[in-house]
């Protein structure tokens, strides 16, 4: 039970980080629009709420507001997860 709860948390963490990182790189490194970016991502992550700050170059994805993934872009260096 405990292991499976850990796995679920890790699975959700992977989900938010995958979303934040890939969306960040697609928007700011490949300079594509959001719909086009989602077209290249696994379908399940479309339901994860995201906040995109275009000026700051950040993407934040979170599940229940608790498990959060945040990626930020730096020109010439791409995106990295916080």
């Amino acid at each position: 039970m405990l292991l499976s709860a850990c796995d679920r948390v890790e699975g959700m963490r992977i989900g938010v980080n995958y979303t934040a990182k890939n969306l960040c790189s697609c928007l700011f490194v490949m300079e594509r629009d959001r719909d086009s970016c989602y077209g290249d991502m696994i379908g399940a992550v479309e339901r994860i709420p995201v906040e995109v700050d275009t000026d700051a170059g950040t993407v934040r994805a979170s599940i229940f507001g608790v498990i959060t993934g945040e990626a930020s872009h730096e020109r010439g260096r791409g995106c990295s997860l916080r």
Binding site: G11, I14, V29, M30, E31, G39, I42, G69, R77, S80
Partner: protein, 376 residues
């Protein structure tokens, strides 16, 4: 006096002419190799046995509605022959063009391989010696014997589960608990086979290699970035390229590199030209041949962070009257990213796209038809 003078003048003239001829002959012998992309890229000049517009017209068939399903996500393709950019095409309707940056996914592994080669050339790493991975130096650690060559051949024998989703090791390394230090996460895996006796494709292995390059060139992200830019990207003029790093200062060399299709083609041209770029040696002598040398236990499909042969069955190609040369090797990435290097044909083809299909073999047909057109 007069005839003697004329004779000596004639002799000098003959000598000068002879020298000039020798210079021209040497120049043309190197003619193919002397064409290089710099700020611009020399195009086909009409001396080819084919019409470049025919090649371009064929490339564009990938973007037509009746193309195989695999090509619905085709975005960019560049064909280089004799060092010249003979044709290219992009899915312009979706905004893609020569300046578009495309994600490498696993093509990055071949970029990491190049960085490793450069470090070997500079005597910063040793190919056939045990890899200096910190976690493996304990007493009686079976991993201490793993060489850099075995890592580059995906034959470390380390435990690893490679998958495209869920809780497999690559997902955990890239987005889960391993993300802060990917090289360490992969290196911490136990040995499950004797090094060199088992082939298993593992993104973690590339991260171990990338960690070794990081440490060899100074250990920090800034030092590693300076190495990548100064030793590879700037000499080749890959101005579009972006490399992403993890928080431990390691280039995410298994998956996270971005460049235009033209710049991926430049990368392929470096290998086609045996690691020399416009007179400057980048990769060690013989590195290209090493890069395409077959790895045991890989069913003949894998070399040294490059793939061998067609994606699908050669038989299936032959059934259509097509073939791909035996000496072709490729960098490949998820979704359909390819850099095909074909020394016997003096050709590089770079392709970027996105497909969710499992079967990428339509690319074999596409490449084989491009090669057939290049001879007509």
């Amino acid at each position: 006096m007069q005839p003697a003078l004329r004779l000596s003048t004639l002799l000098v003239l003959v000598l000068v002419l002879g020298l000039a001829l020798v210079v021209v002959a040497v120049g043309s012998a190197r003619g193919e190799a002397s064409v290089w992309p710099t700020d611009s890229w020399p195009r086909a000049d009409g001396s080819e046995p084919y019409q470049p517009q025919d090649i371009e017209a064929f490339l564009k068939t990938a973007f037509e509605d009746d193309a195989a399903e695999f090509f619905r996500g085709a975005r960019g393709v560049v064909v280089v022959h004799g060092g010249k950019l003979v044709a290219e095409a992009y899915r312009e309707a979706e905004g893609y063009g020569p300046q578009s940056r495309f994600v490498s996914w696993s093509e990055a592994k071949s970029v990491t391989q190049a960085l490793t080669g450069i470090a070997v050339r500079k005597n910063l790493l040793e190919l056939h010696a045990p890899a200096p991975v910190t976690q493996w130096q304990g007493r009686d650690d079976p991993r201490a014997a793993i060489t850099l060559d075995q890592l580059l051949r995906m034959s470390s024998g380390l435990e690893w589960e490679e998958g495209a989703g869920g809780l497999d090791d690559s997902s955990v390394m890239l987005f889960g608990s391993g993300r802060r230090d990917m090289a360490a996460f992969a290196a911490d895996k136990p040995a499950s086979h004797t090094p060199g006796e088992h082939w298993a494709y593992a993104t973690g292995t590339t991260m171990i290699v990338s960690g070794l390059v990081r440490d060899a060139v100074g250990g920090s992200e800034d030092a590693y970035r300076a190495f990548i830019a100064g030793e590879l990207l700037e000499p080749l003029g890959m101005t579009s390229a972006v490399a992403e790093f993890d928080p431990a200062g390691t280039f995410i060399g298994g998956t996270s590199f971005y460049a235009s299709t033209r710049d991926y083609a430049r990368f392929g041209l470096l290998y086609l030209r045996d690691g020399v770029w416009n007179g400057k040696r980048i990769l060690p002598e013989g590195w290209s041949d090493y890069s395409r040398s077959v790895t045991p236990h890989s069913d003949g499909k894998y070399a040294v962070h490059f793939w061998l042969g067609p994606v699908g069955e050669a038989k299936a190609l032959a059934a259509q009257g097509l073939a791909l040369p035996d000496d072709m090797y490729q960098a490949r990435g998820m979704g359909g990213q390819f850099i095909a290097i074909i020394p016997s044909r003096d050709v590089v083809i770079a392709y970027n796209g996105y497909s969710e299909l499992e079967d990428y073999s339509p690319i074999d047909v596409y490449f084989a038809k491009i090669l057939a057109l290049l001879t007509e």
